[in-house]
Symmetry: C2
Subunit: 366 residues, 2 copies
């Protein structure tokens, strides 16, 4: 019997949260083979699938930086792959590459969707290709170097600091000489941020005294705010912004699943007739003017020409131990990706979240 | 009897709207005289008091770009003044100057709060010192030249386009070669914007079809958005932003008097138990990321070093007829300033709003 390949397709657009078994549909099809390859194509087998907060936005049918995933299409995703066969000069059979394989085990891709192999530094591991040396590390790098531009001694606040991008951004800010405050959703994450990554302050946003502690942690106000979460923390940061602060707008994970998206801050919760209504005020939004804030959104793709130089720098910091990392690897194969994505939005991960589609040891022999 | 001078002081901090006769207190005191002057001071008589949307924010006790006006203090304000006497080299008796005289008829100021006299262009009039050639014109100039940077053929949308700053910003955008869409609160204002100022499109935001018309007026999306109003229009502009759009954050007049300040967009009105609850969503806020928007706040004072060059340019455009202007002058003296300020937030003005403290003809003879 021919080899089979599992793929996961978008079944329906979620309203609010993703529901495993409902939002997606799992299908098993005969896997493509080397004889299916045309010139410029590669046959790839997935090893580690990247799970990214942005994925939720790809499921909504609205104008964004990439077209939405269509109903019935294989879910989009970036994957560390083993090249099974190649009719491209970009990589050869046996190479490990990063490619937009999507949520499937085996697939044929044009070389334009495959990145050239990147040599790992001495202490590097294969999953770094998706973390520190992947799009998340590059996002952290460009967001700080191009937009945040922290100066030595300035205060940088990174929200979602225990996530894949936030943890790298916080460490790069330290390398650049800033005083760094991170926020995260558990005491365990905060401990990691302080004790392993060397942040000056780490605050649990679920702490009842978070608002007060946030204020105390920014006595000289905030010069650079790294926004991964949007919502209430963004509004708090606006309220503590220094003159000429830079707000690096990277993500808004607190809002991605919300049926009603919110700008800065949820401020009032009104209980009426047994129903909870959430009002918004975003009262600090006008700090943008009074403190002359530059709030700038960006997408890492805009800096594609500069990836090689940035990767080289990140690899050096990694080999010097100046950037540390952790991953949350979900075992058991691609079938667990749906539930893992739900967990990502619940903040179950520390560092980069990956699904082990197949471990390098199990991967097909050539 | 010695000459008297009316002054208007802050009596209490307003919650929501300013209430004439309650928010302020009017007091009449003996006017200072030339014999009160020390070295470096000037004795000034107010002619035209500027009314500015920012004034509401000065009344709130919160961190901003200037300290709040204190209870009992004379209300802050910029005024075109006649110099009655001078012990400063900055201006001499008989000169017309712009100074931070505040809401009073006669006062003594240190020269640091007085701008040097500026020669009017051929077709200039005295009130231009507060409009096109004043802080409002300068605000328009720097916001576009330093932040918006429209390129020929790009789409610029100016909210509050019939106001003092908006009307100059819209015309400078035309001079820079952009296609310009303005929004305003009456058909009369829109007619002026189209027929006199030459805007490509002018839309009345009170039109029930405003949302649809806004969309139709921006078929190639928005490259530069001039925000004077905040709130719902800001959110609509986010939803129509082009990639790499620049949002010039100048003001948020729709929110200044709100007891609960709002970030982008009021989106839901829920009627429950006879009570109307307004929810917020600002659902387009994430366009900041997906469209890579740069949203930048600024205060004209930051460019003080460049005022002379900018004023020269504005005076030239004014003399060439490339910038046209209108003013709304409230007669009857300073006592009417409170009510005039309320009218400003109701949008009763077209162009710059001024209170005639004393007409140049009535002003004291030297």
């Amino acid at each position: 019997m021919a080899r089979q390949s599992l793929q996961i397709e978008l079944a329906e657009r979620p309203v609010g949260d993703i529901v495993p078994g409902k939002t997606f549909r799992q299908r098993t099809l005969p896997a493509p083979t080397p004889s299916d390859l045309q010139d410029g194509q590669l046959l790839l087998e997935g090893l580690y699938l990247s799970l990214d907060p942005a994925m939720r936005a790809w499921l909504d049918d609205r104008r964004s930086y990439v077209p939405p995933v269509q109903i019935g299409e294989v879910m989009r995703g970036n994957t560390i792959c083993r090249v099974l066969a190649s009719k491209s000069s970009k990589a050869k059979a046996g190479d490990t590459v990063v490619a937009m394989l999507g949520w499937r085990e085996v697939g044929v891709l044009p070389e334009s969707m495959v990145e050239p192999p990147f040599p790992l530094p001495q202490n590097g591991r294969i999953t770094d290709l998706m973390g520190v040396l992947g799009l998340t590390g590059l996002t952290a790098y460009f967001g700080l170097v191009k937009i945040g531009e922290p100066k030595p001694g300035e205060t940088v606040v990174v929200s979602g600091a225990a996530g894949a991008t936030g943890s790298v951004a916080a460490q790069i800010a330290k390398i650049m000489g800033a005083r760094v405050v991170g926020t995260a959703g558990s005491d365990e994450k905060c401990k990691w941020l302080r004790e392993e990554l060397g942040l000056d302050v780490a605050l649990n946003y679920k702490d009842p005294e978070f608002r007060q502690k946030f204020k105390e942690a920014t006595p000289k106000y905030i010069d650079v705010y790294w926004d991964n979460v949007g919502g209430e923390q963004l509004d708090m940061a606006l309220g503590r912004a220094n003159k000429f602060a830079r707000f690096v707008m990277c993500g808004g994970i607190s809002q991605y699943n919300a049926e009603t998206k919110q700008g800065p801050k949820v401020c009032t919760t009104i209980k009426e007739g047994g129903r909870v209504l959430t009002g918004m005020c975003g009262q600090n939004f006008f700090s943008v003017i009074s403190q002359r804030i530059k709030m700038q959104g960006f997408i890492v793709f805009d800096y594609a020409d500069e990836y090689p130089a940035a990767r080289k720098q990140l690899a050096q910091w990694l080999s010097e131990g100046k950037i540390k990392r952790r991953e949350t690897v979900v075992k058991g194969g691609l079938k667990n990706a749906e539930e893992a994505l739900v967990q990502l939005y619940k903040g179950s991960n520390i560092g980069k979240m990956l699904v082990e589609v197949k471990s390098p040891e199990e991967a097909s022999k050539l």
